[in-house]
Amino acid sequence: MTDQRYTSTAIALHWLMAVLILGSFMVGVYMHDLPLSPMKLKIYSWHKWAGVTIFLLTLARLAWRATHRPPALPAAMPRWQQSAAHVGHVLLYLLMIVIPLTGWLMSSAKGFQTVYFGVLPIPDLLAKNKELGDTLREVHEALNFLMIALVAGHVGAALKHHFVDRDDILTRMAPHRPRKEQAP
């Protein structure tokens, strides 16, 4: 019998990142037009630390993917849906890597080094350059809205599988193992 659930490591990483990504997204939307204040500087730093954390956790997830085979998609799923799911997941992983990178590069170009948790300075790849900083800000923003659209599709698809198709796509990534149903 094959295990149809993700491992607890994969499940923990998935939900931790779900919280971090949604939190960072909302903070990012909120923070950018705040008037300058100590709180704004704090929020910016927290956002950057969250971004570095997301980047590192994505590397951990990619390592997990490289060493584990995820549970197979239901055989009844139409081929186009399987392809869409595959492309969607690849794009999500790509954005989880690229978005933190654009944030880091933008921060450097704007002249503010990223110091992880206020203790670990991350080197600046770019020198201060206002125009480049503004461009990177727009790239960071656009990629984030693409990301959030993909997340909406991801959530929508999971809910459709659970409530319409009534398969195990959602439950196999659920934080708790569902109770075994008794055979009638």
Binding site: L36, S37, P38, L41, K42, Y44, S45, K110, G111, F112, Q113, T114, V115, G118, V119
Partner: protein, 187 residues
């Protein structure tokens, strides 16, 4: 007496080479600073300042030095920060447009190292300060490079919500590089 003669002989011997650097070249000089916010070092600079220097490396005791910094010319790292620091909580630069350091004494520390002892005045508040610096001669030019390490709270720079050092640290390093030439006085 013998010491006095020896000192005089030394003075006479070096006097031939002694030059008083007295004309600061503004375009080859710079006043920059580094502060930390959320433990991130941020560099800034002052675009406009006026420095007067009369410095003979052999006779530092007779030296004088003054730097007047035009606070409105600040680049604190971003446009947002520049607007912020002009305000009353920071420099209040409308009421206090200039920061001034006046050296009252310059002491040799050995080699090309010296220290300027003097008074820093910002936002109507004065503090006695010591600024270590090096002085190197390059042809006709003499370059004084050093640091004024201030604590912003001593000058009420960053009041109210900014008074806490948790986000913007108290320590600010003002770095100066003054390049001067020796010009004959027009007597």
């Amino acid at each position: 007496m013998r010491h006095a003669i020896a000192a005089f002989a030394l003075l006479a011997a070096t006097g031939a080479h002694a030059e008083e650097y007295n004309a600061v070249l503004a375009d080859k000089s710079a006043v920059t600073f580094v502060y930390r916010q959320m433990n991130v070092p941020v560099e800034g600079r002052f675009g406009k300042f006026a420095a007067q220097l009369k410095f003979d490396p052999v006779k530092p005791a007779t030296a004088t030095a003054t730097i007047d910094i035009d606070l409105a010319s600040i680049d604190a790292g971003s446009a947002e920060a520049n607007d912020e620091v002009a305000g009353k909580a920071w420099f209040n630069s409308k009421a206090f447009p200039t920061a001034r350091f006046v050296a009252t004494a310059i002491r040799p520390l050995g080699g090309n190292r010296y220290e300027a002892i003097g008074k820093m005045t910002i936002k109507g508040r004065s503090q006695d300060m010591t600024a270590p610096f090096t002085f190197t001669s390059q042809g006709r030019a003499g370059i004084a490079e050093g640091t004024l390490a201030i604590k912003r709270a001593d000058f009420a720079i960053g009041e109210g919500i900014w008074a806490d050092f948790g986000t913007v640290a108290n320590e600010v390093q003002i770095k100066f590089r003054l390049q001067a030439e020796a010009q004959a006085s027009k007597k």
